[in-house]
C-alpha cells in the first residue's frame, strides 16, 4: 500500500474535539472525578463518598474517570462477559445522551448473557463439574447448572438461593440444588460444614480452631445419600438416625450462640439456615456483597473474598458495611448491587493510577488490570473472528460433545473443556475456592496467542481480514473498523501513522495487512486485560 492522502481528515475524525484537562489521557480517560453532592441519596453517590473520603484520609488521589470507550468495554466484560460488537461500540461512542452510561448498565443487566456469565461465576463457587474426582454423573451436573442459571436469570433473592441449596433434599437428577451436597469432595459432616462456611460465609474452616468446625459439623450430621434403581442417581435426604456419633449434641453456631438440636423432630440444616440467613447475621450478607464487589472491581474489600477472618480485615470497613446494608435493604437483590456499583464513579475510575503508591490499589483508587478469564477470552476471539470452538469431555463414556454455538461462558460442566481453557486458567472446580481460577499471564499463553495455528486460523477466517480491500483509500476505514471491533475504540493518530508505515514497508495486500493488525491487537495488553 502507498501512503494515503487522507491523513489529515483521519486525525480530524479520530480525536475528540473536546479539550481535555491536563493529565487526562486522551484515549483512556474523560476527565477528573467530580465529587458527588453531599446531600444526594443516590446509593452510587454514597458509595463514592465512602471511597473518596477513605482516599482523602490516606492522602491518596483517585484516578481520573475512564473514557466512554473504556467504560463501555469494562461494563460489557464485567456484566455479560462479552465484548461489545462494532456497531454497539459505535452507537455508544457516538451517543450524546448524558445518561448513556446508566442506560448501558440497564441494557446489559437485561441481556441473556448476564445469566450465562454470572451462572459461570456461581458454578465455580458451587463446584459444578462431572466425574473425577467426585464421580458426579453428567445428568446431575446439567440439572445443577440449569437450576443455578435459572436462579441468576430470574434474579432470585440471594438468601432464597442459599436457603434452597442449604436445605435441599431429593433426587440429584431431578432437584438440581441438592447437588450442592452431592458435589462436595468431602461429604463427612465436618467436610460439609467446611464447604458451607466457604461458600456462604467466605471463611476457610482450616483456619478455624478445630472445635469451631466440630461444633458446626453437628448441623450436617444427618445429611444422608442413597442410590436409586437408576444408574448413578442419588437421593440426598435428611436421615434422623444418621448421626451415629451424636455430633448434633455438640452443635454451636459459628458465632458462638448455643443451640439445642433434635434431629428426631426436625432437620438441623433448617436450624442452621435460619441462623445464617437472618438479616442481622453479618457473615452471610457481607460475604455475598463482597463477592459481587470483587467480581466487578477486581479486588475484594476483604481479599480474597472467601477468606474472612479477624486477621484479614476489610481495607475499607465503611465500604463493606455500606455494601452489606445495600444488599440487605434490597432483600438480597444481586442485580441491584451490580447496578449500584456499575453506576458509581469508583467503578468508572481509569486504570491509570494518579500516584505511584502501592496501597492505592487496595483502596480502589484506580481500576486494576485483570486478564480476561479463559472463557471470556475465547468467546471474544470467536466473536471478532466469526469462528467457533468445539468442546467435549472424554469422561465419562460415552463422550460428551457440545454444539458449536455454545459459548465458553455458557458451558455448564467444569469437566467439559478445551486445551485453550486449561491454558488460560479455567478453574478445576474442585474446591470452590476463588483462587482456583488463574488470571496469571505466562509464556505458554503468549506462544499460543502469538503463534499457534489455533489463533492463526481464526484470524485467517475473520471477515475483517477476508473482506479487507487492498485499495489505499480504504485503509483508514479498515483500520478504524478493526480497532472498534477488537478494542472498542477508534485508533489514535499515532497508531494510524505506525500502521501506515507498516503497510508501506511490507507492501502487503489488504488481507495480510488486516491479519497483521488483528493479530497485533489480539496480543496487546489492552485486549488481554480488562482495564
Amino acid at each position: 500500500m502507498r501512503p494515503t492522502a487522507l491523513i489529515t481528515l483521519w486525525i480530524a475524525t479520530t480525536v475528540s474535539g473536546l479539550a481535555l484537562a491536563e493529565g487526562v489521557h486522551p484515549v483512556f480517560e474523560s476527565g477528573p472525578v467530580v465529587r458527588p453532592p453531599a446531600e444526594s441519596e443516590n446509593p452510587a453517590d454514597e458509595l463514592d463518598r465512602i471511597v473518596l473520603a477513605n482516599l482523602d484520609s490516606l492522602g491518596l488521589k483517585p484516578a481520573n474517570l475512564s473514557s466512554d470507550a473504556v467504560f463501555l468495554r469494562r461494563a460489557y466484560l464485567v456484566t455479560i462477559g462479552t465484548l461489545p460488537r462494532e456497531d454497539e461500540a459505535r452507537d455508544f461512542l457516538e451517543s450524546q445522551d448524558e445518561a448513556k452510561r446508566a442506560m448501558l448498565v440497564e441494557r446489559l443487566l437485561s441481556r441473556p448473557e448476564y445469566a450465562d456469565y454470572w451462572a459461570m461465576k456461581w458454578a465455580d463457587v458451587l463446584r459444578v463439574k462431572a466425574e473425577f474426582p467426585i464421580k458426579l454423573w453428567p445428568n446431575a451436573v446439567q440439572i445443577y447448572h440449569q437450576w443455578i442459571h435459572a436462579s441468576v436469570r430470574d434474579n432470585k433473592p440471594f438468601h432464597q438461593f442459599a436457603q434452597e441449596l442449604l436445605v435441599g433434599s431429593g433426587s440429584n437428577f431431578r432437584e438440581g440444588q441438592v447437588n450442592f451436597y452431592r458435589a462436595m469432595q468431602d461429604r463427612s459432616p465436618r467436610g460439609m460444614a467446611a464447604t458451607v462456611a466457604l461458600t456462604f460465609m467466605g471463611e476457610r474452616a482450616e483456619k478455624w480452631p478445630p472445635r469451631k468446625l466440630d461444633a458446626m459439623a453437628g448441623f450436617f450430621a444427618n445429611v444422608a445419600f442413597k442410590p436409586t434403581a437408576e444408574w448413578k442417581e442419588e437421593i440426598v435426604y435428611f436421615d434422623p438416625t444418621a448421626d451415629k456419633d451424636g455430633l448434633h449434641k455438640q452443635a454451636i453456631f459459628p458465632d458462638g450462640t448455643a443451640v439445642t438440636l433434635d434431629p428426631g423432630k426436625s432437620d438441623p440444616r433448617v436450624v442452621f439456615a435460619q441462623w445464617l440467613l437472618r438479616p442481622e447475621n453479618p457473615s452471610f450478607s457481607r460475604c455475598a456483597a463482597n463477592r459481587v464487589w470483587t467480581w466487578l472491581i477486581g479486588r475484594g474489600v476483604v481479599h480474597e473474598p472467601d477468606d474472612f477472618r479477624p486477621d484479614n480485615p476489610p481495607s475499607n470497613p465503611e465500604l463493606l458495611a455500606f455494601l452489606e446494608r445495600e444488599f440487605i435493604a434490597s432483600r438480597c437483590d444481586l442485580k441491584h448491587l451490580v447496578r449500584v456499583i456499575l453506576n458509581s464513579r469508583t467503578f468508572q475510575f481509569s486504570s491509570l493510577p494518579a500516584q505511584d503508591a502501592p496501597e492505592a490499589a487496595i483502596h480502589f483508587a484506580h481500576y486494576p488490570l485483570r486478564r480476561l478469564e479463559a472463557e471470556v477470552l475465547i468467546d471474544a476471539l470467536n466473536q471478532i473472528t466469526g469462528t467457533k470452538e468445539s468442546y467435549s469431555s472424554p469422561i465419562p463414556e460415552p463422550f460428551t460433545f457440545i454444539p458449536e454455538d455454545v459459548r465458553g461462558i455458557a458451558l455448564p460442566d467444569g469437566s467439559i473443556t478445551s486445551s485453550f481453557l486449561e491454558l488460560f486458567g479455567r478453574p478445576p472446580r474442585d474446591t470452590g475456592h476463588q483462587f482456583e481460577r488463574s488470571l496469571e499471564t505466562n509464556p505458554a499463553q503468549r506462544l499460543h496467542l502469538l503463534n499457534s495455528s489455533h489463533v492463526q486460523k481464526k484470524i485467517e477466517a475473520c471477515p475483517l481480514v477476508v473482506e479487507a480491500s487492498s485499495d489505499d483509500d480504504a485503509l483508514p476505514e479498515l483500520v478504524r473498523e478493526i480497532y472498534l471491533t477488537v478494542l472498542s475504540r477508534p485508533p489514535t493518530a499515532d497508531e494510524f501513522a505506525t500502521l501506515q508505515a507498516h503497510a508501506e514497508s511490507t507492501a502487503a495486500d489488504g488481507r495480510t495487512f488486516a491479519a497483521d493488525l488483528v493479530w497485533s491487537l489480539f496480543n496487546q495488553p489492552e485486549f488481554l486485560f480488562n482495564h
Binding site: L352, N442, Q456, T498, N523
Partner: protein
Amino acid sequence: MNTPATPPTSDSLRDLHRMTQAFGGVPLTRREAMRRAVYGSAGLLLCEPFSLRAKPAMPAADGKAKSVIQIWLWGGPCHIDTFDPKPEAGTSYCGALDSPIETNISGMRIGQLLPELAKQADKYSLIRSMTHGNNGHETAAYLVQTGRTSERDVFPGLGAVVSYFKGYDAGYKGLIPPYVVLTQPQGRFSEAGFLGPRYKPFATGGDPNAKVFAVEGIVAPGITEDHQRERRNLLGRLNTLGGALPGNATIKTVVDSETQAYELILGDAGKLFDLGQEKDEVRDAYGRTTFGQSCLMARRLVEKGVPYITINYQGWDTHKQHFQIMNRKLPELDKGLAALLSDLDGKGLLDSTIVWCTGEFGRTPKVATESPWNGGRHHYGKVFSCLLAGGGFRGGQVVGASDAKGEEVAERPVYPADVIGSIYGQLGIPADAPLPHPQGTPTHVVPDKSEGVPTAGLLKELV
C-alpha cells in the same frame, strides 16, 4: 476430564510474588534479554514467570537417572498380546496371536508382533504382575501415574512431580519446558494435580511425522521468519496501554513472557523440533509413523536435558476389532520403541534415561467373541504388564508373574506406587520428599501406609 487444583498460595507468598513483580517495569530490550539468557535468569519459559510456591523442601539428589521417557499406551494395551504371552491358554484367549517369540534373553518370551523388541530384551525388564483392580479409564490412568487412590485430593502425576523436583525450581535452565508431552495432553487425567498449572506439561500438538512438525505456538507454518519479525516490530509500537502505564508490573509480565516466547519462535531453541536435522536412516529406523518420530523427538529432548517426556500414544482401547488393531499398532510400537532403546544405548544415554511403557490397565485375557464385540477385549485392571528400561534399572529381568491365563497375579504383585517410587529413587528423589499439599497435610512423593495405598515394595530386584 479432570483438571488440577490451582495451587492455593499462602498470602505471604502472594505478597512476596507481588513484590518481586514490582521492580522496574521497562520492557526488556532484546540485548537485555540475551544478556539475561546468558546469565541464566531467562530460563523460565512456559511456566509462571515467578515461582508462586515454595521451592521443594528437599531438593533431589543427583540420581543415576536424569530423564524419563514415558510411553503411555492410552486406552490400555493387552498384556497377553504384548509382554506376557500365554499361548498355552488356547485360542479363546490368544486368538491368532498364539506364537510368542524368544528374545535375546533366554526364557523371556514376548508377543509375536514385537520382533525388534525381542532383540533388545537385555536392555529392559518386564513387570508381569502390575495390578490395581480398577477398570475405569480416568481413575486407572490416575492410579497408574500418581500411585494414589485418593478421590478427595487430586494428586500430581509423576511427570509433574519430576518437573517440581527437577525443573525450574531445581535450577533447570532450558528454554524447552521440563515436562513435555508428545503430542496431545492426556485429557482423562490431570497431570499436575494440586501442584497447579506451573507443573503441567507442554503439549506440542502437531505431528512429528508431518513434513513440518508444527509445534503449537513455536512453529507456525505459512509465516516466514521475516514476517514474524515485521509483526513483532508492530507489536511494540501499538502498545498504547503499555505506554500509558510505564512501569506497570502486570504489563511487564506480558512483555517479559513475550520476549521468552520469541526466543523459541525465532531463536535457536525452537530448532530442536526440526526433525529434518536427523539423517534419513535414523528417521527410517524409528519408523515413519507419528509414534516412531515421537520416539525420535523424545531422544532429542533427552539430549537437551529435558527431565520428563510423555509420548501419549493413543488407540489401545480395543473393545472391538482388537486383533486387526494389534496387527497394525504392535509393529509400530515395536519399531519405534526398539529404535529408541538402541539409539539411547548407542549414544550412551540409556544409563541416565528411564524408559517406561504401560497403559492404565490390561485387557480381558479371554477374547470377547460375542456380538457386538466380535473379537474384542475389555478393560482389565487386575493384571497388566509394564516395560521398564534404563536409568540404572537392570535389563533382561522378569518381575512377578500372572497365572496361566493371565487373569490373576500369581506372584510378586507390583502396584503403581511401587513403580513410581522406584523411578523417583533412580532420579534421586527420596521417597519421603514432601509434596506441598493444599491443606497442609504432610504428604510425601511415595504414599506412606497411613494413606491406605496398596504397595508391595519398591523394585529392589531391578536396582
